[in-house]
């Protein structure tokens, strides 16, 4: 069967009343939770995991598709209406969108974000549908050494891209890897880091770590320095998009999509890089560069499109290789594992019905989001007014619920709160949280692939770079590690030889 037939079959599955309802609930709840201040897309998905525990796998993933896109969308609404960004991918949206809202053009900003998200989401989902089966076909041929190389690359890029400090990114990654070691070793059945606690022999559940780091950590962090005066909330008035707004928006939407999707597919931390690139590109190409920083509509349209397109792009490596490249994707991978599914090339063969129903519901979710968000903005604004004590009490209650339902055990709750304290510490010192979640999930998989590769080669280490694919990927890893070192050496040399070329050193230092 060709991809189109499979997709049509997927639509036929997704369009049953029950699954449509799941998709709708997913989009609605995902957006609502994503709108709540302090909750980013990764936390939205992690917090809502327990809601799907009682559904069948296909139903659960249809709902997840909605939650994923809805959470992304909700985040940008928050950053337009409040003056501080919730997560790194909506920094730009906050920058321009909030300025627009303050200038009385909030409705136009929200509209260009909503329509841009729809355009980008739909185009990127088409691209996902076309690209993913091809990649899956190629991925079948990859051996354990190739996977191991890919995972090393993912570890390096997420810890250097997410967050501003490389050493702190690595620290976070190591914490995740350590947490991933806890439990019985899959291959040999030996207990590691279990401290004799029987409940730890199954390992620490990803939900507990993700919810602990994101939700409990955030609640503690907010509690430690709660803004006593609520942040100023702009009202959504002003005219909807004018004809001129449309003329200025459509190109940025398309350019943002073109940047966002490919970057999303790379192991480079998801939407962060393309949103910044899109903003820079729009500023350069705009006929009104003077408006940037004061509320230029292109500065909302482009980055928002890039953000949403990358959300679809992230699904390519996740579904075809089992490789999460953003914290949100890592939580989604955990959701797959809960259902005993291992994303990867085999998923397209063995569970093709589920995959295509999931892809079809991504299209449907996009349409629902557009239909929901344009009229429901008023409701989202009300959500932003929830008194903070109740909001964060609710977040902690839900986080605890998610962990408690796993096995009705107080051990999981203890772990949850301890990991929450860790999340608080990481926020306080500016350690990015994403690499820890990715390390936790990818660490055990990377270990298995490494050991499988070495078992096949009977301990010959050179097998790790024996295929061209693995060699190239490891080569890229070496470049990533060595480039900053080389640049630093060059910069110090220059400084020693010639003290007049200060600007050039500055440029090098910034890289």
């Amino acid at each position: 069967m060709g991809s189109l037939d499979l997709l049509m079959q997927g639509f036929a599955d997704a369009l049953t009343p029950t699954y449509l309802l799941y998709a709708f609930i997913g989009v609605l709840v995902g957006t609502a939770v994503g709108v709540l201040p302090g909750i980013g897309p990764a936390m939205t998905v992690a917090l809502l995991l327990p809601v799907t525990y009682s559904l069948d796998a296909t139903g659960a993933f249809i709902m997840f598709a909605g939650i994923y896109y809805g959470g992304m969308y909700g985040g940008s609404t928050t950053s337009i209406l409040l003056n501080t960004p919730g997560e790194s991918t909506s920094i730009i949206t906050a920058l321009e969108g909030n300025k627009m809202a303050k200038a009385g053009r909030g409705a136009a900003a929200l509209a260009t974000a909503a329509i841009g998200s729809f355009v980008a989401g739909t185009i990127a989902t088409v691209a996902l549908t076309l690209v993913a089966p091809q990649v899956a076909d190629l991925a079948v041929k990859l051996g354990p050494e190739d996977y191991f190389a890919l995972m090393v690359l993912a570890f390096l890029t997420v810890s250097t891209v997410l967050g501003s400090s490389v050493v702190r990114g690595l620290a976070s990654l190591c914490l995740g890897l350590t947490l991933g070691l806890v439990g019985l070793d899959v291959l040999s059945g030996q207990a590691r880091l279990t401290f004799g606690v029987p409940q730890l022999s199954d390992g620490i559940d990803v939900v507990v770590v993700a919810v602990g780091l994101f939700a409990v950590g955030e609640a503690l962090w907010v509690a430690s320095r709660l803004r006593r005066t609520p942040p100023s909330l702009v009202t959504v008035d002003g005219h909807w998009m004018s004809r001129d707004d449309f003329r200025r928006s459509w190109k940025p939407w398309l350019r943002g999509t073109a940047l966002g999707f490919p970057f999303g597919t790379l192991p480079a931390g998801g939407g962060e890089v393309p949103t910044f690139l899109s903003y820079a590109a729009e500023k350069r190409l705009s006929k009104h560069p003077e408006e940037f920083g004061k509320g230029a509509i292109e500065g909302v349209a482009g980055p928002e499109a890039a953000n949403n397109a990358s959300a679809a792009g992230v699904l390519v490596p996740l579904l075809t290789l089992g490789l999460p490249t953003s914290a949100t994707a890592a939580v989604l991978l955990a959701a797959f594992q809960q259902y005993g599914l291992q994303p990867g090339p085999a998923l397209f063969d063995e569970d093709s019905e589920l995959v295509w129903a999931l892809l079809a519901s991504l299209y449907l979710g996009n349409v629902m989001l557009l239909a929901l968000n344009l009229p429901l903005v008023g409701l989202w604004v009300k959500l932003l007014r929830i008194p903070r004590p109740f909001l964060y009490a609710g977040i902690v209650m839900f986080a605890a619920l998610g962990s408690y339902t796993l096995s009705q055990s107080a051990v999981d709750l203890t772990l949850l709160f301890l990991i929450g304290a860790l999340g608080f510490m990481m926020r306080r010192y500016g350690w990015p949280v994403g690499p820890a979640v990715i390390g936790l999930i990818l660490g055990p998989i990377a270990e298995q692939q490494l050991r499988r590769a070495l078992a096949i080669s009977q301990g010959d280490v050179s097998t790790l770079w024996s295929t061209p694919f693995a060699a190239i990927v490891l080569g890229i890893c070496a470049v990533i590690v060595l480039t900053p070192l080389v640049l630093r050496v060059v910069a110090t040399r220059r400084r020693g030889h010639d003290t007049t070329t200060d600007d050039r050193d500055d440029v090098l230092e910034k890289r």
């Binding site: 327990p50 059945g189 880091l193 942040p231 004590p389 109740f390 619920l401």
Partner: protein, 166 residues
Amino acid sequence: MSQTTTHHQGRSEVVPAAGLVVLGIYLLLSARGISVPAGEHSIGPRFFPYVVGGVLVVVGLWLVVAVLRGDRAEAEAGEDVDDQASTDWRTLGVIAAVLVGYVVLVQPLGYLLATIGLFAGMAWSLGARSWRSLVLVSLLAPFATYLLFTRALGIYLPNGLLASVI
């Protein structure tokens, strides 16, 4: 985004950085205690703990040095975070007590009663002072959640004391 948010909170980050080193050393030492099954020809279950432990020590030392040389990362921003405020340890202490209480009481009291306590405790320590809304929301929110999960979603939550009532 702005320079004003950079906090110079002294060198206290040395503590978690050194913690990484200690954790790494612990991993290296405890990895020796992992028994390797006979007939294991590949690298076995000890290898990864050794690698992670080694990297932890290196990264931890790197961070200790970086912090001592004045390297600081920006604390995370957020919608409800006052970037000018200093850490409110009193509130954190109260919350810690609430969370510990929840862990201890959730089984004897049952999910619903304990969660009402958790919600009220969290909301109160975060500054909810209007008694009427505090009582009302703290009763309603956990109750609605409990009903949604046990009745609508069919997920089991042990209800301790109230088991025979609801």
